[in-house]
Symmetry: C2
Subunit: 396 residues, 2 copies
Amino acid sequence: MRLESLRYTERFGSVRINDLQKVLELDSGKKSETPRKEEIAVHKIEDEVIKDIEGRMAIVIPIKDEKLKLFEGVISGIPHDCLIIAVSNSQKKRVDRFRMERDTLAQFCRFTQRRALVIHQKDENLAQGLAQAGYSDMLDEKGVVRDGKSEGMIIGILLAMLNKKEYVAFIDSDNYIPGAVWEYVKIYAAGFSLAQSPYAMVRVLWHYKPKISPEMYFKKWGRVSEITNKHINALLSEKTGFETEIIKTANAGEHAMTIKLAEILPYASGYAVEPQELVSIFEGFGGILPTGSQAAAKHGIEIFQIETRNPHLHEERGRMHLREMLVPGLSTIYYSDLCDKKLKERMSQELIDLGTLQPGEEIPRPHLVPPPKKVDVQSFASFMKEHLYTYSVLEE
Amino acid sequence: MRLESLRYTERFGSVRINDLQKVLELDSGKKSETPRKEEIAVHKIEDEVIKDIEGRMAIVIPIKDEKLKLFEGVISGIPHDCLIIAVSNSQKKRVDRFRMERDTLAQFCRFTQRRALVIHQKDENLAQGLAQAGYSDMLDEKGVVRDGKSEGMIIGILLAMLNKKEYVAFIDSDNYIPGAVWEYVKIYAAGFSLAQSPYAMVRVLWHYKPKISPEMYFKKWGRVSEITNKHINALLSEKTGFETEIIKTANAGEHAMTIKLAEILPYASGYAVEPQELVSIFEGFGGILPTGSQAAAKHGIEIFQIETRNPHLHEERGRMHLREMLVPGLSTIYYSDLCDKKLKERMSQELIDLGTLQPGEEIPRPHLVPPPKKVDVQSFASFMKEHLYTYSVLEE
């Protein structure tokens, strides 16, 4: 893979926010000595470097009643050396869709001779293990894991930890293009290969997100992303005194982290999860509020933003209201201790102008699940040990 | 890459027609010893095998007034080690689109440090070289190369020959998905790696070809393909006495050949070009009509048909009439010396029933350009030698 080289980095305390880098070439061919004149503008990341990272990476696929053909396409695009972890919150009662997902994954893994895990979000052993290890914030009043994609993501992170992976990445199960899924993984690995800190994050920006109806129109920015990016940049600008547009991936669902970083971040519910990660990083490592991790602050946190070559084409499941998508993202900024009154007012006003908030109404506070590091991993691991084989799709 | 292993092959004289093989996994990871039990059902093709073939492959991209964003996406998906040969028949007068294509390609190649050729179909030196080398069938009354995609393909084959490539492949310039382009090339290389004969062809079947309007619908077979496949299979069935459905890629625009095979086939104009390749192979090597190449007959011709994982999404340029697309393809079967009266009548009747042919109207005969082997390659090469550098996008 060839990427544009890093041309610009902004610093916020010990956070290094790298400007957008574009993928130039999906497949950069055989290993070679890069000519010197190329190095200035372009990073060539050799296949063996990428594959080495893939072998240490878990790909978490949250899935909920998704079309099986799409799920099958997604898994076919994930490079072989990655560990697939499907976290399902699909129905089991009327039609056992979880069983179908498991069967689809098992058939794929049997033919391609690879390992994969699949777990249901409401798995009872999992819930018991979490409760025992002190992570009951994840559980609802019935004692099973709460609904929500971010809870699924955390289950994925924990399973990646139990499987001794060093990187964890997220890919949605509704992607139409297996080749785009493949590119996301290459981008994650390429980003990590450039990281100097063991606390790194790679966020994907879609080259285009086509609108497919009534005809193909290649939209560069979604409105929600545009507004969320604007306010998260304002949060930075007002603290540093320099206006910035550095954040271009506030809502990036396709993203990856080193486990070291993933385990020290809290996770917000629903559409708040991705912007919250950034806000939490800025809070914890921006040098303004007290840090939660001296070790991470010492190494610094590195954020990569990489633009795909493939367009993003995914299943449209009815119209989401602007409110449902926009308000949770902005709430992460609104309730940050970094956010001052002026910015709060600007955000409220914008939401009122857009008709997504009533005058006088308060923005709802995001629900935060504390960092996976809170779990007593030893206790969790020893409880889960005897159940782990039940999540493996291939008999071992 | 992992492919389904070959489960079934039909023989027609010295032609081996392999049944459809599906891509199971886009990226099969690090090199490894394949477990024995897997081998029965699955071919794992190692990256180094694929890359080695890519280094000997030219990718020909015919282009005509295509959106530059799409062209740029297509070239970004072609693995680095392949030689890109863009053959343009775009306008140069009012707006010099050829110049823009050249600039786009040059910019890409400068950053990615790769070679590429771009040539205009009406290039005067090319026309002179062809005339001198005895290939005036390619030229029109003005003495330049005729319009048409198949003429562009032949130019590509000739340039691949001059560049000592062993494989030549075709990819359309209107593909929306760079990751799908990448997969086509991997499929070509994977197919060739399985070939036992130096006369081999790989034809791509799209997993789905989505209709994008009014909403996403994943269509498996186009109507034109369905009808063309049916009649080409009938051609085989009636000669062998065994009914067959082996051909599933009669209209495959995405296909590749060894140069040895490419240079001995004639090429038909327009939508007839892809089915004509099959018909010509059946005529020349089916054991019924006299063969044009003893060497090829001895080795046998191998045809691979491989189904992608990615859907095929390309630019829709207005509605084509069924007639324009269907009649040329069927004409290649109709005018084959292998085609008997009964099949001719069935085809005419079907076209009349579809309203694409008037009763009593004769199916137009396809225009055939004789095989590139007809060219006196020595003479062509020595004439072109001093001009070749003008087609290279990077200064050498």
